[in-house]
Each structure stands twice: as structure tokens, then as C-alpha cells.
């Protein structure tokens, strides 16, 4: 082995000497560059001195299916959902919107401590979720509630989680909106940004190793999260490990107060895809049909172990979270209104339903009323549900409670015997 390597060492020029012409030498090198350095992309020489000016390059186009009024532009692109599916899509989006309004208001009334709305992004959640299989694994960032809702995560569980009560799957250990459900193949939200991206690639790699794999991973992230180093690591690993993964970027124009113009200087997030060797598409994120088609095609490609990057162009209509006041940095409030009025994904989809005669004002009224009632009921029930017993504090740090923690638990019991009146013990479940 060693001797073979050394014979090929660059100090041995015998191979080169055997090429007679300059052209033969060029061909040899171009072939080497192409195969070994450039992933089989065709390498060429040029005698023109030109530094690529990225600002002159054409932006990746935005794939769409309907126009701003919700009309189909090219009918071959109509995914032909049928009535049942269309209504389910619409109902999921509106239910999400209504739940957001109620939970947002309840935070303002001080009934829950924190909330994040999904306003204006309902289309990209539900459009992508509908194109995935429910068995596909989803990693979210936090603003992807529509995906979980599409998969049937019950309203009650959303509410229990926001209250952190004893019925919450996480027993109140994680912040509001950090949902997760093994049953729904939705990995629990993690607060530090972008950590979900390399993790998602790891999961996709594990899928790929299974015989006859029929699952992909879809990982969601924001335009801001895309700046973390973890995004680079994830893109590069997915491409070099050939993983069945969809990177779904919700580009909503803002990361808290930072506008995308300060977040990156290139052609958005899609512009990065080809550089990493990712199949890439940019889509109108408020056009549910476009998001659906793009995700469905991305899923097909990803299942052949070619990772795909989707950039969905949308707009964050609400504040970043209930701890944010976006009027401090979105000074042009009219613009926010214009997005809401002129390009709301729910309105765009509704046009379609109404045109098909699958929906009307009466249905709308009844549906709104019913959902409000269901949300409020689930909300009230969650509010009344007791919090977990305080011993829950010591559970789940390890598979078995170690001695040190048992001692601390006893200490806590003793402490509460003495000082219990200072703690809201009546709100906890009894043992």
C-alpha cells in the first residue's frame, strides 16, 4: 500500500511526462478536479479574469401555484386535493389562528406566562405537513404549531403544556410552546437555536441505515437560526452523508428585531443550498398549494437520499413572542397591515374553497364559534388542572433517582413542613 502511494506521489512526474500535448494534460487535470474536488461538476478553465459579483447573480426564483388572489396560474400545478382534504387544511389553519388569538390574549391577562403566535405562517405549516407522511420525523424550532396540529395533537395537550400542569406530557418541566410528542413524531422543541439542525441530520442518517427506509426527516428553522454555525454543519453533513432530510426554512423577514437585511448578505437561504450540494427550491410560503407541491417533491427526492433545502418566503405578522413589542422596530405599521390584508395564507386558501362551493359565510360562522368554544373549554380545563406534585422536581434527571437527590427530596419535605405556608402547595397534586 505504502509503495503504491509513493509511486503516485506528486514528486514522481512520470505520469505527466507520458502526456504528449498540453490538451492531454488539461484533460487529465480537469477530470481530476471534476471527480475529486468538485463532486463531478464539470470543471473548465477560463482565461477571463472575473471575480464573481454575487450581487449580480440572479436570485433563485419563487415557485408559486396561485396568484395573490388565490387563482391558479398553471392548472397543471393544481394538486387536486378534493373536498375533504381541502376542508381539513382550512380547518387546521383557522383552528391554529383562533387558538393563537386566545392564548395570546390569555398571556396578556396574565393567565399563562409566555406565548408565541404563528400569525401569517399558517400556510407553510399546514402545506408542508400535509405533504409529509405522519410517520416522517419532524424537528421544529418553535413556530411550527400547525405541523403538530395537522398531525392531530389534541387541543387539550397544547393547553396543558402552556400551563405546565400535571396533565402536560412534560409535567411542567419545559417552557410554554415547547411542545413535543413521540406519538406524533414531533421532537420536543429545544430553546437554543439551530441545535435541531445537526440533530435532524443525525436522525436522517439513522433512518437511512435502516433497510427499506420509507421515512424522511423534516427540520424547520428560521431565517435567523440559519446564521448559527450549526446550520452550516447540518447542511454539509446532510450533503456529504446523503441523508433523507428536508431542511425547511421559514423566512419570515425577522429574527426578533433583526431584519433579514442584517442577518445575511447573500441570496437568502435558498442561495446557500447549491453551494452545499443540496437540492434547493424557494417557494411562496403563503401559497399553500406551492408549499404542498414543493414539499411533496422534496420528500420524493429526499427518499432517494438526496437532501433538499426549501426556503418558504413568508411574513411574521405577530410580535416575536409575548415578551416582544415589534412596533419598536417595525415602524411602518402599514406594511405589516398590508401583508396581513393582501397576502394572508388563510384568506388565499379560503378563496379556493369558496370558489369550489365547499365553504361559505354560514359555515365560517359556525366553525369559528365551535372552535372558540372548544379552545376555551380546553383552556379552562387546563387552568383548573392541578400542577404536578413537587416531588416531580426530582424525577427524570436520571432513569432512577440517585441517593443524593433522595436526600435533597427529604430535605425539601422537611423544609416544607416548616415553611410550607410560603409556597403555593394547594396548587399541586397531592401524592
Amino acid at each position: 500500500m505504502l509503495s503504491r502511494l509513493s509511486r503516485r506521489s506528486p514528486f514522481n512526474t512520470s505520469i505527466f511526462r507520458s502526456f504528449a500535448t498540453a490538451r492531454e494534460r488539461d484533460e487529465f487535470r480537469l477530470q481530476e478536479y471534476s471527480q475529486k474536488y468538485l463532486g463531478y461538476r464539470k470543471a473548465v478553465f477560463t482565461e477571463k479574469l472575473e471575480i464573481i459579483d454575487s450581487s449580480k447573480a440572479e436570485a433563485v426564483p419563487i415557485y408559486r401555484v396561485t396568484d395573490g388572489l388565490g387563482n391558479f396560474i398553471d392548472s397543471s400545478q393544481d394538486p387536486k386535493f378534493g373536498k375533504e382534504m381541502s376542508v381539513k387544511i382550512y380547518e387546521t389553519m383557522t383552528q391554529l389562528n383562533i387558538m393563537d388569538r386566545i392564548l395570546y390574549d390569555s398571556q396578556r391577562q396574565g393567565r399563562i406566562s409566555f406565548y408565541m403566535t404563528n400569525f401569517g405562517e399558517e400556510g407553510n405549516h399546514v402545506g408542508s405537513a400535509a405533504a409529509l407522511k405522519n410517520s416522517d420525523l419532524v424537528y421544529g424550532q418553535y413556530r411550527e404549531v400547525g405541523v403538530l396540529m395537522w398531525r392531530g395533537f389534541p387541543l387539550e395537550q397544547f393547553m396543558h403544556q402552556c400551563y405546565g400542569n400535571s396533565m402536560d406530557i412534560g409535567k411542567g418541566k419545559q417552557m410554554p410552546v415547547h411542545y413535543g410528542s413521540k406519538e406524533h413524531n414531533f421532537v420536543t422543541i429545544s430553546s437554543p437555536l439551530t441545535t435541531q439542525l445537526p440533530q435532524a441530520v443525525g436522525s436522517a442518517y439513522a433512518f437511512k441505515r435502516q433497510p427499506n427506509n420509507d421515512r424522511v426527516v423534516c427540520v424547520y428553522f428560521g431565517d435567523g437560526a440559519a446564521s448559527e454555525g450549526d446550520a452550516h454543519a447540518a447542511f454539509n453533513f446532510a450533503a456529504t452523508l446523503d441523508c433523507p432530510i428536508i431542511f425547511f426554512c421559514r423566512n419570515n423577514g425577522y429574527a426578533i428585531s433583526t431584519p433579514t437585511s442584517e442577518q445575511y448578505a447573500g441570496d437568502g437561504i435558498a442561495g446557500k443550498g447549491p453551494g452545499y450540494g443540496l437540492h434547493t427550491i424557494r417557494v411562496d410560503g403563503n401559497d399553500l398549494f406551492a408549499v404542498y407541491n414543493a414539499t411533496q417533491e422534496a420528500r420524493r427526492v429526499a427518499l432517494t437520499n438526496k437532501p433538499v433545502l426549501i426556503e418558504a418566503m413568508t411574513y411574521r405578522l405577530g410580535h416575536h413572542s409575548t415578551s416582544d413589542d415589534s412596533t419598536a422596530y417595525r415602524l411602518d405599521f402599514k406594511k405589516v397591515q398590508t401583508w396581513g390584508d393582501k397576502d394572508h395564507p388563510i384568506e388565499r386558501f379560503k378563496t379556493y374553497l369558496v370558489e369550489k362551493n365547499w365553504w361559505d359565510d354560514e359555515k365560517e360562522k359556525a366553525w369559528q364559534k365551535e372552535v372558540r368554544k372548544r379552545v376555551l373549554k380546553a383552556f379552562g380545563d387546563a387552568e383548573k388542572t392541578k400542577l404536578a406534585h413537587f416531588h416531580e422536581l426530582f424525577e427524570g434527571v436520571y432513569d432512577q433517582v440517585p441517593e443524593l437527590l433522595k436526600r435533597q427530596r427529604d430535605e425539601l419535605d422537611n423544609h416544607l413542613k416548616e415553611y410550607g405556608e410560603h409556597y403555593p402547595l394547594d396548587r399541586c397534586l397531592r401524592k
Partner: protein
């Protein structure tokens, strides 16, 4: 329900429980937030090499409004907004410091500094040593640290022990407004990398603020602990938010005739052991107070040093630690409250040390 101090790096006014009840003596006061702001403002004006960088520190005034008004005053070249890349901008701070600038690098919270830990430990802290003293790295890494309210495991923790463990770093943990200002100014002027840990809960709290502290020349020494309250029965050693519980406990203990000496460490590295030793040799009892985890924590280090020193022979009881519970921080209010130390824990532990029933 309870107020939330910050979620995902967003500030919302919050008073600590103390704030409402405490009647401040006459004379002027200043919040921690304003004290830090003054320090930054003055140091940026004083030295053209100083600049502030971090997520949303410019136009938005910082997630906790610590840099309020500074961008308007000093402009783009001195106050930079960065994209969301902690590892990246910590690296940029390190490189800028290698090249002669003096960056103040804000983490939206120290929870996110974990993404940048390699730049802090392996580059900032060690380059001076590895270059045999040829390359300095004068950076201040600063931001809110410690348990916050209602933000659960990944947003609510104390990193003091993590950073204090690493040689090459200085670690500064101010409690009140004068310390916040005086120590931040000293940190910015220091030629070593400094990790400056502010407390998320205390930002909005007003503290007495002397005329001396208002001066542009007000600087406090790094590495010196401060005896905040003189006593003779027991030594309580603490820092940052632990001061709040310890001072309240000392007051309560005074009512039963126990005079506690409360030592505010102010700096964890370099560590002012002499002040602690002297105190223990007087009081013969030691209780340490911190909000972080017990294992290999600051209290553990203090007690180890005491036991190894001549002060050991002066102890009349085992030294005790008051710490946070050894679990990740849960979200739900009742569980969160049970995970954190309180004034009552300090009182009880002191009584245990003094054999008072």
C-alpha cells in the same frame, strides 16, 4: 400569574420581590441596568478601541436594554448588531482583541454562551499563555446569568462555576449597582479576558449610588471581596443574587441575636481567600450561598480551600453549603420555587451550624 423576566432574549420589566418592599435610604439610587449602561458609555468614550457587540445591542438597545441609547450616541462603529451566531461573533471578538481592539461581547444570556464556549475557553483564555505572553486578549464577555423566572432548564442556570474553573479567565460577579459599574469599567480596562456575569433578576433593582460612583473615574478592583456586613457568630460567603438571600437572612438572624458576617465575593477568579480566612478565624462558622448546582460548585471550592488552610482549625462546626437543587430547572412555578435556595434556607443552615433549634 408570575411575570416573566425574559424569554428568548426579550426584556420585560420585572421587579424582584425585594424591590417593592425595600425602602431605600434617602440619597440617590441607580438600577443595575443603568449602572452597566453608564460604565459602557464612559469606557466607549474614554478609549476608541472599546466597542460593544452582540445580538440586538444597537438599534434595539439590547435584549435587556442594557445598551439603551448607546447606538444613537456612538453609532455603528462602536455598537454592532451581529447575526445570530454566538460561536461566530465570539470568534470575531477574539480576533479583534488579538488585533488590538477591546471588544465587549454581549451574550443575550449566558445560556447561549455555551455555543461559543470553545472560543472563550480554548482561544480567549489560553492564547496569552500559549504565546508566552506575546498576545493579549482583552475581551469582556458579559450578559445575564443565573436562574431567571419561568424560562425552564435551557434558559435558567448559573454558569459561575463553569467559567471560574478555567485558568486564564477572570470571572466577575457583581451584586449591587456600584459594583456593576466599578467592576465593569475595571473589566474593560483589564488586559485579560473577563467573563462578567450579571444577574437576570436584578437588572431592574435600584441600589444606593454614591457621588463617587457617579464619577467617570470610579473603578473597583477585580479580585477583592467585600465584607458587606460585619458580624461575629458566623461567616456567610456568597456572590451575586446569593447576596440578596444572605443579607435578608442576616437581618432575620439579628433579631434572634445572631450576628452574621456577610462576605460578597464580587470576583470568583482571582479568588480573595484572605478575606474569607480572616473572617472564619473570627466567627468559627462558615455557610456558603449560591444559586447554582452543588456538585463542584463555588461553595465546594471555598470549603475545600478552608479545609486545606489554617482556618480549618478554627471551625467549630462543619462548613455548610446552600445551593440550588441538583436538577435542571423546571418550568412550572411550584417546581421552580422548590429548586432554588431562599432566605429561609440560609437562616436554617446558619442555625444548624450554630446548633440553634
Amino acid at each position: 400569574m408570575r411575570p416573566v423576566s425574559v424569554i428568548f432574549g426579550r426584556f420585560l420589566g420585572r421587579c424582584s420581590s425585594l424591590q417593592a418592599s425595600r425602602q431605600l435610604a434617602t440619597g440617590s439610587t441607580c438600577t443595575i441596568r443603568d449602572a452597566l449602561n453608564q460604565a459602557l458609555d464612559e469606557e466607549i468614550r474614554r478609549d476608541p478601541n472599546v466597542f460593544l457587540m452582540g445580538e440586538e445591542v444597537a438599534q434595539y438597545d439590547g435584549a435587556y436594554k442594557v445598551s439603551k441609547g448607546l447606538w444613537k450616541k456612538h453609532g455603528d462603529s462602536r455598537i454592532w448588531d451581529t447575526p445570530i451566531t454566538e460561536m461566530g461573533f465570539a470568534g470575531i471578538a477574539v480576533g479583534a482583541a488579538f488585533a488590538g481592539l477591546r471588544p465587549v461581547c454581549e451574550f443575550m444570556t449566558f445560556n447561549f454562551s455555551m455555543q461559543a464556549i470553545d472560543q472563550i475557553i480554548n482561544s480567549a483564555a489560553k492564547t496569552y499563555y500559549m504565546s508566552a505572553g506575546k498576545v493579549t486578549c482583552p475581551i469582556v464577555f458579559r450578559g445575564p446569568n443565573g436562574a431567571a423566572a419561568g424560562v425552564a432548564a435551557q434558559h435558567s442556570q448559573d454558569f459561575s462555576a463553569w467559567f471560574a474553573h478555567c485558568p486564564g479567565l477572570k470571572v466577575v460577579t457583581p451584586y449591587n449597582a456600584e459594583e456593576a459599574k466599578g467592576l465593569l469599567k475595571a473589566s474593560i480596562r483589564d488586559d485579560n479576558p473577563v467573563v462578567f456575569l450579571e444577574n437576570e433578576i436584578l437588572y431592574g433593582q435600584p441600589f444606593p449610588f454614591s457621588d463617587e460612583a457617579k464619577s467617570e473615574d470610579f473603578v473597583l478592583p477585580i479580585g477583592k471581596a467585600h465584607v458587606e456586613r460585619v458580624g461575629k457568630h458566623v461567616t456567610i460567603v456568597t456572590y451575586s443574587r446569593g447576596m440578596e438571600f444572605s443579607l435578608e437572612a442576616a437581618k432575620e438572624l439579628a433579631s434572634i441575636g445572631v450576628e452574621a458576617e456577610v462576605i460578597n465575593l464580587r470576583t470568583l477568579r482571582p479568588f480573595d481567600f484572605e478575606t474569607i480566612k480572616k473572617s472564619i478565624m473570627k466567627t468559627n462558622h462558615l455557610v456558603t450561598v449560591e444559586t447554582g448546582w452543588p456538585f463542584a460548585g463555588i461553595g465546594a471550592e471555598i470549603i475545600a480551600q478552608v479545609i486545606e488552610s489554617e482556618a480549618f482549625d478554627y471551625l467549630d462546626a462543619p462548613p455548610y453549603r446552600v445551593t440550588g437543587v441538583d436538577v435542571p430547572m423546571p418550568y412550572t412555578q411550584t417546581l421552580e420555587a422548590a429548586a432554588l435556595p431562599t432566605t429561609a434556607h440560609v437562616v436554617k443552615t446558619v442555625k444548624k451550624s450554630l446548633h440553634i433549634q
